[in-house]
Symmetry: C2
Subunit: 336 residues, 2 copies
Amino acid sequence: MKQWVVAKHPKGLVKHTDFRLAEVPVPIPGDGEVLVKTLYLGVAPVMLRYMTNETSFERPLRIGDVMIGRGVGTVIESNSPAFKKGELIQTKLGWREYSIIKDDPYYMTYKMQSKDLSPSFGVGALGMNGFTALIGMQDICKVKAGDNVLVSGAAGSVGSMAGYVAKALGCGKLVGIAGGAEKCGLLLDKLGYDIALDYKQPGLYEKLDAHFSDGIDVFFDNVGGILLDEVLGRINRRARIAICGRISEYLIPPEEYHRPRNLYRIGLKDAKMEGFFVYDYQEHYAHYELQLAQWIREGKLIPLEDIGHGLDAMPEALISLYNGTNGGTRMVKVAP
Amino acid sequence: MKQWVVAKHPKGLVKHTDFRLAEVPVPIPGDGEVLVKTLYLGVAPVMLRYMTNETSFERPLRIGDVMIGRGVGTVIESNSPAFKKGELIQTKLGWREYSIIKDDPYYMTYKMQSKDLSPSFGVGALGMNGFTALIGMQDICKVKAGDNVLVSGAAGSVGSMAGYVAKALGCGKLVGIAGGAEKCGLLLDKLGYDIALDYKQPGLYEKLDAHFSDGIDVFFDNVGGILLDEVLGRINRRARIAICGRISEYLIPPEEYHRPRNLYRIGLKDAKMEGFFVYDYQEHYAHYELQLAQWIREGKLIPLEDIGHGLDAMPEALISLYNGTNGGTRMVKVAP
């Protein structure tokens, strides 16, 4: 079988030469171990930080180690009472065609229930991205009928589902912010947004004023920084802000972070701001999957997928995340 | 009967000459009206802003109007099906010995259940102050066993109960911040705090470092501004911050507000910050009263009261709020 190993620790953005494709025998599961066949692998911006060992929640990657990554696979052989042959699971497969996993919290394995739907959804709408969108909109922001909702990073893996979730929960006006005409077109044509705002065009905040003359009730934020501050300046009483990401701050040191003028409005408006991490909500995953799967069947959530083909395509899938203009959930189909 | 009316709209701090004591007949309740005998009246910093018509939630006060204020009274005569003679209620009585009220949301009337306890608690521990402490610690901060808890404005009407509530919910280390040795003594001797920090002494933030070397889980904030920013710099993962007040910002214009360095830590630490207003939680008052009354009976909450005597004492009670060094709930006993 094939697997991708780390050839170099990236300097700056990740490059093809940071990976090496290796051929190895399909592993044989030992006692308590499970052999999984990879179907789909996802990519995410955080993977660059796995390669440079800059996250606190993933083990260090040495040169020659198999690249870390989550995906969807089928249990082929199980020597663990926790898994049965044929089960469809989301787990830390790594970038390889077959993986050995164990019944261990490290893997954060989740067994999928919705077998009538595409297994690819396990990388997106029925996986961590979809659960993140649902946690933010439902559990944190408690979106209700008529709420004015704003999403930043709206064309991304999570943002592309956050809008659908807000609409399914009955929100009123739904505005998405993304970069460039292509992504903004996706928001309107494929992702269910009422209004798309291009942050690369001038006048973003004036447009927020115009579209939210009656204020913002819910903000699902992937950006942070100045945008978050400007939104705080426009919130309604009892507004709710879910902090999903803060991409504007990932590449600059804390002393350069924007210092907000409008934090006091959390108190003034009896509003809420809350950061969250999907892995803190594991006990609810089964319920989340049922909810999201139902919306997919009803046509209320139409997952936007961007699928590469074959394990060979993994480095390109990751690299293109950092300069890509596509939206939705980027992944690679490794096996049918 | 006697009543206090507004003689002048205060300029700067409130003075005795801003009030005038008037003698009027006890009013006669009309159809749908209720005559209430005042037992206790509370005072609160917001009352200065009633007198200058600077709040959005209270009706304008003209010269000669009876001063607005909440208190506890007994229903003497009722022409409303909503009230029975003998009921003990918290409502907007105004500064007078007898009041007419109606079954109208304006009055935000709450009927007290705990008749075995002092009616004075209706101004504090079993009224809006106690409910505020409980909402902040229980509903917003979800205090649990072992949490490291910090309260600012800890000797005030709400802060004096917030500590007890946190302890009753099983918190770990409980630290209060107040101004001056006298208030800090109260925190330790009468209000159940483990540690008292005097913000008027140098080195407050170094003391926070020392006492919270293992971080802050819960912050109940009455102050805002720089202190809130410094606390954000010391929060643990999934910390919760209840914004009850922001006294550091009430007397300066927004452009002079402190611009925080550490807001990004809400996202980094998957933490929560939430402002709240007790009147948004009316549906839960009866439950809150039962909970707080039980803690009083069990000795887990020992209300600290500062009681003046006779309606004549009202202006002094309010004035002393702004320069007082006492702690706890300040009120006046109008009738036995």
